[in-house]
Every structure is written in structure tokens, then in C-alpha cells.
């Protein structure tokens, strides 16, 4: 109601009556009655079609047989998870069920029965961390509570309520009556029912159920808080191609899979967004995307074509900065004058190509520009960054070493940080150092003159060691750190399922200001992002009781305790 001239009139004075009772019954009766009629008609039609089809059946049998061989050859392996069973864990156990994964703590006791797209579980004892597939409805009966979830990660703990144990002996109350059920949701939602009441448990929250009582929020801290908020586009970390918003591009996909992100080019939101807003690799087709940046919605389309080559081609219709002479930044590659198309293994051409690292955060992705008006721009998708690096030309052999450069830059970090405070992820800089040890040129990824001027002002006074030649070095300038902001950004990323970005922010928050809560979040994000080395780093800083509590999530990501203990 924010976008019009509201009336001051008391519209509520014209009150409407409530809906008549029994509406749902009548609606459902009509729907189901019609369904039955339709089912009958379909059945009759099918019966007739069987006879009609039978005539052609023999004629097509051979062809069908051949097709069947082909299909079977390419069919996915059948799901080997048993559709029913019982497991009592004597040690931490990872059980794969149809459409769900259960990580049982020792003592966990479950039985399950799958039917259709639902799986019904009785969790009689112990603690289990559940991951329910998005195509599945997981129903867990746990003593005094029942839990329903889909596309969610949650932990269900059933345990004796110790305060009631004395009562058991005295009044022979059943074990179910003294069970305490705790449900923590990490991702997605779950419906928790008890004593005739149902609550929706949101991510990052915990509810408890005691016998005869409705679910109640728990004050216990959830081990892995992932934050809430509305669903947001999934963010990917390792996009092979970053698409500038507002552009239409065509991808020739040589290897059957490419992850594409949209670079919103939005200073207030540096995240890269999924082009197709689905957590799936792009397949052949046309994908529309949109993103709102500073209140302006921008749209584009990505067409993914069949395997026709190994490069990405688009018309150069970027913004001003891009259509003007390309600003080439050294970031680990040779100066443009030394790089031609052959150097990066694209098709040979007589035209001079320039190279710049288009997405510095994504090694292996380079933009190549033909130096000619109206020419296409080719993006070469590199799938092996390590190999690709061999194509770069080493420069500055006779300048100062990287270690010498970093030794000067490191103490300058606090002074440089305020220069890039408006960029949440900081700025990459390329510094040219003269033989005399002075900065002679500075390039940044920023197009903000004030930022450039500030960085120059600081670096102009920097004194580097003298050398026989000039050299160019790259560095990253982080903005001043604010642990709370970083935590907030990280939690938003988790809510979007972007665990890589979450990890980056949590890790930065830890560096900025260490605390146990952030350590847990970082560990959780590291596991979800399958970054074992990070998870291990945090694992070593944890107390033993915290470790046992958090290990489940890593097991779910196939990161075992042995891997963490290495």
C-alpha cells in the first residue's frame, strides 16, 4: 500500500461476513466426485486404445526392443536404498533411505517404510540428523511428536526427560510418556505436531515437545544457525562463466555441464546469482534471469546451445566502461601487448586479441576482446585453471619478488582498508613497482575515482626494495572488517544455500573477531561447502563436546571425523 494516494475513509465500516461453514467439505466433495468421473472416462478410453494399439504393436516390437536396449544402457542406476528396514546404531551411522539420509548418533533407533514419494519413519530412541530430498515427504514419528519435512535438514532428538525418571519407577509411566523430543531445523521447514497442535519450525530454530504439551520454542542454541528470511536465488561459488546483467549471451557447451552466474555489478550486493535460479547445472535451453540492483531491475537471457565449440561468443554491447577501450588489468596474466589469441589456445586469428581477467574471483575465466569495433567478444571457458595458468606469461622476473612485495603491502593493509570500505568484498589491485622501489602505476577493479585516488595516495609513499627492473604485482585490499556485518552477510548466504559465500564471510568474521558462535557457523558452512581444509581448521579449535554435536552435519557431507582429525 505504498504506491498510491490512500483514502482516509474507514473502509472497514463495510464489513464482510465470514465464509459459510462446511465450505471445505463441499469443495472437496466436488473435486473428488469430478476426479472419479474423469478417472472412469480415462479408464474407458484407455481400454479402447489398447485394442487400437494392438494392431501396430507387433510391427513396432523390434524397434521398441532396440530402443529399450539404448534406454537401459543410459538409465541411471536403480536406487539401491531399501524401501523398508530397521537400524539401531551402536556407533555413528550413515543410512541412505529412499530420498532421505539419516545420520544416527550411537543409540539411534529407527524403522522406515517408503511408499511413493513419502517415507514414514519411527524414531524410537536417540538422535538423528535427517536430510529430506525435495521430492520426498519425510514423516518422522518420535515418541510424543510427529514431524513432517521436505527439502529440509533437521535434527530430531528423543531422550528421557531426566527430571521425570524418578516418576517412571514410581508410577510405571511408559517410556513414551517421559520422552523429550527436540527438533532443530537447519534448512527448509518442518511441521512439528504434538498434543493436537502443529507449528512450522523455521530454519535456525529449535522446538521441544514434552508429553501432553504442544510444541514450544526452545531456548537452547541451535548448533548450526542458518538464518531465516525469504527464499532467495541460490548462489553458486564456482561459476565458470559470469554473465554481466542486461546482456544476452550464447553458450556453446562443450562438456555437457557449465555453471553460470550473473554478476549483478551492484556495489551493495556483490553476490553472484544463479542464472536459472535453480540449483542445477544448466542444460540446453533458454534461461531468463533478472536481478534488482539498487532498485533497478535488470533482465537478460542465456541461451545454452548444443556442443558446438569451446568458446562463448557474444556481441559487445556492454556498458560504457566496456565499450570504451578495454581496461586491461594484469592480475596474474601477461600485459596485453604480449598476449594473442594463440596464447590462450583459442582459434588462431590475425586480429589482435587482448586479455583481461574478467572475473578475478573465478580463476580460469578470462575475457578476450577483439580490438576492432563491432567485433564479437569471445569468452573462453577454462575448465582446468592450473593448466590454464601455464599459458600465462611470467613477467617481472627481474623485479622485486612477490614475498618482498607482500612484506611491504601487509603492514599497509589497515591504511588501505578505508579506501575500499564501500566495496564489501574489497578490491583487487595491480601495482607496478619501479626498479627504484616506487609505485609507478596502479590499476584496480574499481571504476570509482575516489577509491583509486585514495589507494594511490597511500601507495605513493610506500617504499619497496630496489631491483634491476620494474615489476607488476597483484594484491587484494580488504575493506575494514566488521564482524557483525560479515556474520549477517554469511547468514544470508546460508539462507540462500550459498555455503561457499557463507564460509568466506564467516571465515572473515572469525579473523576479524573470534568467538565460539562464529566458529560453529564457519564449521557448518565449511562442511556444507565441502571445504575439508577449512572444516579441519575450525575442528582443531573446538572443544570435544562441541565436536560431537557438530560432527553430524559434516558426516552428511561425507566429511568424516578421520578426515577432520588428520
Amino acid at each position: 500500500m505504498s504506491d498510491d494516494d490512500e483514502d482516509d475513509l474507514d473502509f472497514a465500516a463495510w464489513a464482510a461476513p465470514a465464509a459459510p461453514s462446511g465450505l471445505a467439505d463441499r469443495v472437496i466433495a466436488r473435486v473428488t466426485a469430478t476426479d472419479e468421473v474423469i478417472a472412469g472416462v480415462v479408464q474407458r478410453r484407455r481400454t479402447r486404445r489398447v485394442f487400437w494399439l494392438a494392431g501396430g504393436l507387433v510391427a513396432t516390437l523390434a524397434a521398441v526392443a532396440i530402443a529399450a536396449v539404448v534406454i537401459l544402457t543410459h538409465s541411471p542406476e536403480p536406487n539401491s536404498a531399501p524401501d523398508h528396514g530397521t537400524t539401531i546404531a551402536t556407533r555413528p551411522e550413515h543410512v541412505v533411505l529412499p530420498g532421505a539420509i539419516a545420520n544416527l548418533d550411537p543409540g539411534g533407533d529407527i524403522s522406515w517404510q517408503a511408499s511413493g514419494d513419502a517415507i514414514h519413519v519411527q524414531q524410537r530412541r536417540g538422535s538423528v540428523t535427517w536430510r529430506a530430498d525435495r521430492h520426498l515427504f519425510l514423516e518422522v514419528g518420535a515418541a510424543v511428536a510427529s514431524i513432517e519435512a521436505s527439502n529440509a535438514t533437521l535434527r530430531v532428538e528423543t531422550r528421557m526427560n531426566l527430571s521425570d525418571v524418578r516418576v517412571v519407577g514410581a508410577s510405571a509411566v511408559t517410556s513414551a510418556a517421559v520422552a523429550l523430543v527436540t527438533v532443530s531445523v537447519y534448512e527448509g521447514q518442518a511441521r512439528l505436531s504434538s498434543a493436537g497442535q502443529t507449528v512450522v519450525v523455521q530454519p535456525g530454530t529449535t522446538y521441544q515437545v514434552v508429553p501432553g504439551q504442544p510444541p514450544a520454542p526452545s531456548r537452547d542454541v541451535v548448533a548450526m544457525t542458518v538464518g531465516g528470511g525469504p527464499p532467495a536465488p541460490v548462489v553458486i561459488e564456482d561459476a565458470e562463466l559470469v554473465v554481466p546483467l542486461g546482456e544476452r549471451i550464447v553458450i556453446h557447451e562443450p562438456h555437457g555441464r557449465i555453471e553460470v552466474a550473473v554478476d549483478p555489478q551492484c556495489p551493495s550486493d556483490p553476490n553472484l546469482l544463479w542464472a536459472n535460479n535453480r540449483h542445477e547445472p544448466l542444460v540446453t535451453g533458454s534461461y531468463a534471469f533478472s536481478h534488482t540492483c539498487d532498485g533497478v531491475e535488470r533482465k537478460g537471457t542465456i541461451d545454452v546451445l548444443e556442443d558446438t565449440g569451446d568458446s562463448v561468443v557474444k556481441k559487445p554491447k556492454r556498458d560504457e566502461a566496456w565499450t570504451s577501450p578495454l581496461k586491461v588489468i594484469g592480475f596474474g596474466v601477461a600485459p596485453p601487448a604480449h598476449v594473442t589469441i594463440e596464447d590462450i589456445a583459442l582459434k588462431p586469428s590475425d586480429q589482435p586479441y587482448w586479455i583481461a581477467e574478467f572475473a578475478p574471483k573465478h580463476p580460469g575465466l578470462f575475457a578476450v576482446r577483439i580490438d576492432g569495433k563491432g567485433a564479437d567478444v569471445h569468452y573462453y571457458i577454462r575448465r582446468d585453471p592450473a593448466k590454464d595458468r601455464s599459458a600465462t606469461i611470467s613477467v617481472g622476473d627481474h623485479g622485486i619478488s612477490t614475498a618482498d612485495f607482500e612484506a611491504v603491502m601487509k603492514p599497509l593493509a589497515p591504511t588501505l582498508a578505508p579506501c575500499v570500505k564501500k566495496f564489501t568484498t574489497g578490491q583487487d589491485v595491480a601495482v607496478e613497482v619501479s626498479a627504484a622501489g616506487k609505485m609507478t602505476d596502479l590499476l584496480t577493479t574499481s571504476s570509482d575515482p575516489a577509491t583509486d585516488a585514495c589507494l594511490r595516495k597511500v601507495l605513493r609513499n610506500a617504499v619497496f626494495p630496489q631491483a634491476k627492473a620494474s615489476s607488476r604485482h597483484t594484491d587484494h585490499v580488504d575493506p575494514p572488517c566488521n564482524a557483525d556485518d560479515l556474520l549477517s552477510v554469511g547468514t544470508s548466504a546460508v539462507a540462500r544455500g550459498d555455503h561457499g559465500n557463507a564460509l568466506k564471510n564467516y571465515d572473515a568474521a572469525l579473523t576479524c573477531k573470534y568467538d565460539i558462535h562464529t566458529l560453529q557457523l564457519a564449521f557448518f558452512a565449511a562442511c556444507r561447502a565441502s571445504k575439508v581444509e577449512f572444516a579441519r581448521k575450525y575442528w582443531k579449535r573446538m572443544e570435544p563436546d562441541m565436536k560431537s554435536h557438530l560432527l553430524q552435519m559434516c558426516l552428511h557431507e561425507h566429511i568424516t571425523q578421520d578426515m577432520l582429525d588428520e
Binding site: D4, D5, D7, D8, L23, V27, V31, T34, R191, N277
Partner: protein
């Protein structure tokens, strides 16, 4: 006109939780019931107001029709699409009601007494105002009425109204403005004291 305006009572913006929605989408009767229970009053109020002065007695049947359509179309509803579930349902209800008003025999019902919800707590003055508003809405043409009802009673924004009625955004704005003017004029005529208080 603000002399008569207490704080406005907004309808609760409750939405069905995602899990129940998905259950409803795969045809679970219990979830259908939850969905209908959550939205039935909003849908009934919408349809009942749209039919004011024409065919309000048809409201229960049309609400039924609405939910039958909702349940049938539910598998196609995209939870993360552009429309919220409530907006989507209200859109269906609006179209059902407008179709009813476009029936050839609908005009014959013009002038039907406008029903008022009974409320013991309402002051006499407020009841008068309610009656005048109802009559004012009834005097609007069907599309203007739909726009104003969706805006004032269901908090749909311009874009949502445009989508619901398949109109251009600019058309919605201009018709909404005209509907407000027409309603104001009607009310000031029906209750001259409103105009006096406003001055």
C-alpha cells in the same frame, strides 16, 4: 473524510506454509482443508463485495467454484513464482466473480438489496457509513469495483491488480483514481456530513 477514520483494520497477511502447500499440490485432502480454511474468509469477502448490489446471494456458490478451481490448478502454482498464493487465489476469485457479473442475465439483478454483515459492536454512525460505502461500491462498474476492492480490502499492489485483471499498469492506476473519485462523490452525496467534517 478522515474525521471518520479510526485505525484501519488490515486483513491478516497469513500465508500457507510451504510444506502444507506442497502437500496440497500433490493432492492431500488434509492440506486442501488447511488451505481452504486459511483463505476462505478472504475469498468470501472479496466475492461478496464484488457482487454487492448484483448477485450477493450467489457468493457461497462462487466461492465454492473458486476453491474447486484453486484445488484443480494448484499443481501448476509455482510457490517461488511472481505471485503469492493468496494473490493467486484472489485472482481466481476475482475472475470467477467478474464472469458472473458479465452473464447476460446479471443486469436483471441490478438493484438487489445490498447485504451488510451483522455486527453488534458497530455504532449507528458506522453502520450508516458501511451502508453508504457498500452502496457506493455497488454503484461502480464491475472492473472499477474489483480494482478498489482488491486494493483497499486485500492490499494488492498495482502490479498484482494488473495481473489479476489482465490490465496494463497505467490502466489500473487511472481506473483506481476514477473509482476513488466516484466513491468519494457518492459518499459525500449520501452522507453530507462527511464532506463537512473533511473541510
Amino acid at each position: 473524510m478522515h474525521a471518520l477514520a479510526p485505525p484501519r483494520a488490515r486483513p491478516a497477511a497469513t500465508e500457507l506454509d510451504e510444506l502444507t502447500l506442497r502437500r496440497a499440490q500433490r493432492g492431500e485432502e488434509r492440506a486442501w482443508r488447511e488451505l481452504i480454511a486459511l483463505y476462505q474468509d478472504r475469498v468470501y469477502a472479496l466475492v461478496w463485495r464484488l457482487l454487492a448490489g448484483r448477485a450477493q446471494h450467489r457468493a457461497p456458490d462462487l466461492v465454492q467454484d473458486t476453491f474447486v478451481r484453486v484445488v484443480r490448478a494448484l499443481p501448476k502454482f509455482e510457490p517461488h513464482g511472481s505471485a503469492k498464493l493468496a494473490t493467486w487465489i484472489l485472482t481466481i476469485a476475482t475472475r470467477v466473480a467478474l464472469n458472473e457479473l458479465r452473464r447476460p442475465d446479471a443486469d436483471a439483478l441490478a438493484g438487489e438489496p445490498i447485504a451488510q454483515a451483522e455486527s453488534a459492536e458497530q455504532s449507528i454512525e458506522r453502520k450508516r457509513l458501511g451502508g453508504a460505502i457498500a452502496a457506493g461500491f455497488a454503484a461502480l462498474d464491475a472492473e472499477q469495483r474489483a480494482i478498489l476492492v482488491l486494493r483497499e480490502y486485500h492490499e494488492l499492489d498495482y502490479a498484482e491488480i494488473a495481473a489479476a485483471l489482465d490490465l496494463e499498469l497505467g490502466t489500473v492506476k487511472s481506473r483506481l483514481s476514477r473509482a476513488r473519485s466516484a466513491l468519494r462523490a457518492f459518499l459525500v452525496t449520501a452522507m453530507p456530513e462527511l464532506g463537512d467534517r473533511h473541510e
